[in-house]
Symmetry: D2
Subunit: 129 residues, 4 copies
C-alpha cells in the first residue's frame, strides 16, 4: 500500500465550501505516481506505457479545506495486461472518497495492449490488497 | 437529452498530447448545469439541493486538442431521492468517453436526503434515455 | 478583437462562492486559441511555436457562477519575436478581470526565439487594440 | 520565508510535455496558505478576510514532470490594508517561475478594505524579503 498526504488547495474548494468532487480524479491520479514509477521509474512522458480505461469514484463524506487528506493506494486486481488501482481518501479519521482506476499497459506506437511482465506483476503484487 | 459543445482548452491536454482523463469529470459536471437548473433555476449556490454520490467514467478513445467535443446528457435512472445522469463525449464521430453520475437531492441544512417532487420528476423524465 | 463566451463551471467556483482567481489564467489561455491559430491553424501540438514569458491578471470585481462571461482578446504590443495579448472578462456589464500575456515565438527544437514574419505580423495587427 | 515542496501531478502537464503555465497560479495560491493562516489560523472559509487584487507570473524556464518543485514564499511589500506576496518555483537548482500576488485585507460583509493590525503586520514582517 502506498500512503500519501495531500494538503487541499483553496482553488480545489467549490461554492458549497468543500473540496469539489472532480478534484478527487486529480488527487487519485497524482497518487498513482508510485504505480507509474513501477512501469517508468523516471516518469519519462515520452515513453509512457499506460492508459486508463475506467475510473469510479464514490463519495462517502464531504472533504474540508484546512485539514490534510491521506490517500491510500493499493492494487485490487491483476489481469493479463490490465490491473485495478483502488484508492481511498481519509480526513480526520473519516473515509471521504474511494475509487478504482482500471489501467492497461499499452504501447502508444503500435496502439496495442501489452501483457504485464513477471517483474511488473511481482512489483504490483507487493501493493495488492 | 441536453447537447453541449466544448472547445478543449490547451491547459486540459497532458504530456501524452491528448485531453487528460481527469478533465472529463470537469466537463461532465459542467454539462450537468441544465440538470442543476431543474432544481435551482438561477443556480444560486447558497441554496444548492444536490450532492453527488458516485461518478463512473469509461474511456473509449483518445480526445484531441483542436477539435470541438459534443457532450450528450441524459437521465438514465429516476429513484426516490436520487437519479443517474448518463453522459457521452463525442469528437469527430467517435464516442471518446461515457460516464454516469449518481446525484441525490439533499438538504444541506438538515444534512438529509429529500424525495424528488412530482414536478422535478416530470422535468427529469423529459430528458430520460 | 476576438470575442468569446464562457459559461462558468461549478468546479471553477471556490469556497467564497465566486469564480476562483486562478481560473482566469485558464480562461484567458483558452481564449488565446484564435491567436494560436494564427501560428498553427490546425493547433498541432507537435509543432507548437509559442512560449509564454509573463502573465498579469488584475481583479476588478467578483465573477459569479450562473451567468455567462464574455472574454475580449486583443493584441496590445507587437515586438520583434514577441507580442502582448490583452484580455478582459466581462459579466453583466462589469469588467471583472483584465490581463496581459507576453507571448514569444519560439523554436522548441533549437530552443531559440524566432522573429515574427510579415504575414504573422499582419494577421496579429488585425486584432490590435 | 515559507518553503514548500510540490510534486507535479500528471494532470498538470500539457501537450508540450511540461507543467502548464496556468498551474503556477494554482501552486502559488496553494503555497500562500501559511500566509492565509496568519489571518485565519483555522482556514475557516466562512470568515475569509482576504481578496486578491493582482497576480503576476514570470516564466524563466520549463518545469518538468517527475521532479519535485520547491516554492519559496515571502512578503515583498506591506501597505496599509494590502501587501505583496513574492514567490519563486525552483526545480533542480533552476528558478523556473517567479510571481507576485497583491493581497488586500477585506471585509466581505461590508465589502470594504480593512487596515492591517499591528499584530498581523508583525507576523507578515517576519516573512519579509
Amino acid at each position: 500500500m502506498f500512503t500519501q498526504v495531500i494538503e487541499p488547495r483553496f482553488s480545489e474548494t467549490d461554492a458549497l465550501g468543500h473540496i469539489n468532487n472532480t478534484v478527487f480524479a486529480v488527487w487519485f491520479e497524482a497518487c498513482r505516481t508510485p504505480v507509474f514509477r513501477i512501469f517508468t521509474p523516471d516518469l519519462n512522458v515520452t515513453q509512457w506505457p499506460l492508459i486508463i480505461a475506467k475510473v469510479t469514484l464514490e463519495f462517502h463524506a464531504q472533504t474540508q479545506y484546512g485539514e490534510n487528506v491521506e490517500i491510500l493506494t493499493q492494487i485490487s486486481r491483476l489481469g493479463g495486461s490490465s490491473f485495478d488501482v483502488y484508492q481511498e481518501a481519509w480526513q480526520n479519521g473519516i473515509k471521504c472518497v474511494s475509487g478504482t482506476a482500471v489501467m492497461v499497459q499499452f504501447d502508444y506506437q503500435s496502439q496495442t495492449t501489452k501483457a504485464l511482465s513477471p517483474d511488473i506483476r511481482a512489483a504490483l503484487q507487493q501493493h495488492a490488497i
